[in-house]
Symmetry: C2
Subunit: 447 residues, 2 copies
Amino acid sequence: MTASSVDLLIKPRWLLPIVPRHAVLEEHALAVSDGEIVAMGPAAELEATLDATRILALPDQVLMPGLINAHTHSAMSLLRGIGDDLPLEQWLNDRMWPVEGALADADFVALGTDLALAEMIRGGTTCANDMYFFPDVAARRAIAQGFRLAVGMIVVDFPTRWAQTSDEYFQRGMAVHDEFRQEPLITTMLAAHAPYTVGDDNLSRICMLSNQLDLKVHIHLHETAVEVENSRRDLGLRPFDRVRKLGLVNENLLAVHMTQLEPNEITACAEAGVSVLHCPESNLKLASGLCPVEALRQAGVNVALGTDGAASNNDLDMFGELRTAALIGKAAADSAEAVPAWYALEMATINGAKALGLDENIGSLEVGKRADLISFSMDGPELMPLFDVVSQLVYAGNRRQVRNVWVDGEQLLMDGSMTRMDLPALKSRVETTSLTIQNILDQEPTE
Amino acid sequence: MTASSVDLLIKPRWLLPIVPRHAVLEEHALAVSDGEIVAMGPAAELEATLDATRILALPDQVLMPGLINAHTHSAMSLLRGIGDDLPLEQWLNDRMWPVEGALADADFVALGTDLALAEMIRGGTTCANDMYFFPDVAARRAIAQGFRLAVGMIVVDFPTRWAQTSDEYFQRGMAVHDEFRQEPLITTMLAAHAPYTVGDDNLSRICMLSNQLDLKVHIHLHETAVEVENSRRDLGLRPFDRVRKLGLVNENLLAVHMTQLEPNEITACAEAGVSVLHCPESNLKLASGLCPVEALRQAGVNVALGTDGAASNNDLDMFGELRTAALIGKAAADSAEAVPAWYALEMATINGAKALGLDENIGSLEVGKRADLISFSMDGPELMPLFDVVSQLVYAGNRRQVRNVWVDGEQLLMDGSMTRMDLPALKSRVETTSLTIQNILDQEPTE
């Protein structure tokens, strides 16, 4: 029997494939060739049958799928910390929109996206679902950095530096869709900012395009009680009922936040195959309410996890986020057994892949999937003793324990160091831009 | 003018004294001699007037008071992760007490305390308030490691390896009090486990000793709705009313958890000078309820912050805890303006010092206080850009950014490395003990 050649054979202490559920494999290895997971099995067997160009032993590390940040606004990392301890409406109207109106051009998006990618890669995130202006710029930065990104073709009913009219939003959006159709790292989808910023005409147009092109629709929905109440008062309908009437409640809908849900809405989400994109830390920080994750899980709804933007979080830390999701999910359900540790990991991996329509390629370690992998060190007194790898990752884990990251088989983090990103140059550019932001903030009237 | 001699002059990028509130000083320095903060002021001035044995420049770091973990069970770090996703009663009865009954002797406490101290020191905690068996052993480990520890003279109405009868609990407790009376790093106080494990006789005896010796009384109180309801059903009183009738509601009371509070109880705490020791992550993980921190703050109650034990958290990460406190405090109050960032830092520093009766010595950076200091690096893409140091520490901070730690002027962490603790030896001892724990767990019937 001749040995097959592979690019890389990784021998971790633990292998956590996520699928099948609860599996924690020891003395197992994983092989990668051409960016694909080509073999998984007992380490001795793989070493005997494979001829690996590189063998990487990770004796105190867990190998697992890269985390998927199912909802973020990458470029807003440049606005980290400019609007703390404020409710959503004030945060948006007094802080975010004035600064974005003055600054959010292509250069801003390029720099902010690089900053977000650096943070996400160092913290074990290998894929994100982005909603922001200049999605083409964000996609190009992701390709340059080797990161897997879904970008939303943003629509909002007011002019921005990205587009002046509704027609221009749709034209530029569809141009983005065409430009990146063949890019293996990029997924495009439709993105309506929110029911309170996009009218029925544009929502209907988004629905039509979603049906014609089989595209996902990314939208903030039922983020706050105020949003729901205003819609009832002004339109006689809850936002969910409104988007349902317009035809958007189907398996392409990615509904972000969903902190206000009636039982019949949970059932409707389950029946229609809607994915809920849960952002617990943003919801807590803006006092938006608690998403009923356990009830959604019990109903069979696919719940994925996102950090939201760093301006409302204030980080893009998916390990922190999945821990918060496990903790706050228990408070929301009034049960310590709700949102168990393994489910928190699923939300951050395979459920994210399902939401983005990428679960044939990523979200778990399975032969034939793309090699989006991370390794996590279990060394240090903070992680002693170790009785249960999943418990340790979720309830005692820290993103600073991430040592290695691969996307599509390319190693982007090597023993804690970034392989592609020039961090000192990034720092210098961010510092320059932060002075401009500070000037704008100094001119804004704030109460 | 001749220069005064000092042991150490620290020149950080930012100096965050906590007192006065909101102060963030730049181009300032702090001087230490004989374990005391002897000078603070403009760096140029201090450099000109002081002759320092060692000058330490920290050009991208914040210098601030060490964090105070106001409620923990240090030795339970050895039980990290053995009882996840379970409600409090099941967690206590089926997991903690069987293992502790079999194992919690002096050796267990010595090892568990060392493990906890390693984690706390690396994460920027310089003082903790411990409640566990063998408080003398914990105190000796703290002295050996140079850590500041308050230990509770534990009382519980059932036999343990520490004491068999009530009289023995009190005798051993008072012996601990006598032994450590002159130790500058150790504070002793009375500790009743909880109203549901300590009867009126012992609570009255604790009250009498507290009054006679002016000792604090550390007690779990109103942790869950079940605790309150059982007390009403069995004794006709809420636990708070019961301890009030017994005379314990005064400025020596340290009430841990307090997730179930009526407005009149909040008023009573404020009027009596009770300190509330808030443990948000433990409360979330055990689905115990949400402590109304903002209401307590508005009423003028001193709220300090604790991690609880690593068996119910599962870490002793005070930076993580203060962030969770700021986030969940907004949900509990239904207001994004509740529990602002600066208040989260106060809970973790000066309020902890006040609770423990140590605010004349620690909890802020002021001339004349002991040098319990930490420095925190603001370097890295996770903390860019930087508009507000307090926001960054609270909402984007990570304990792995802590670079230096001093307790009573002794440096315990130097640029990320521990100066006293032998971590490889600790790891080996913890691994041996974890095998014993695993054997006991394997024998326990669990549903």
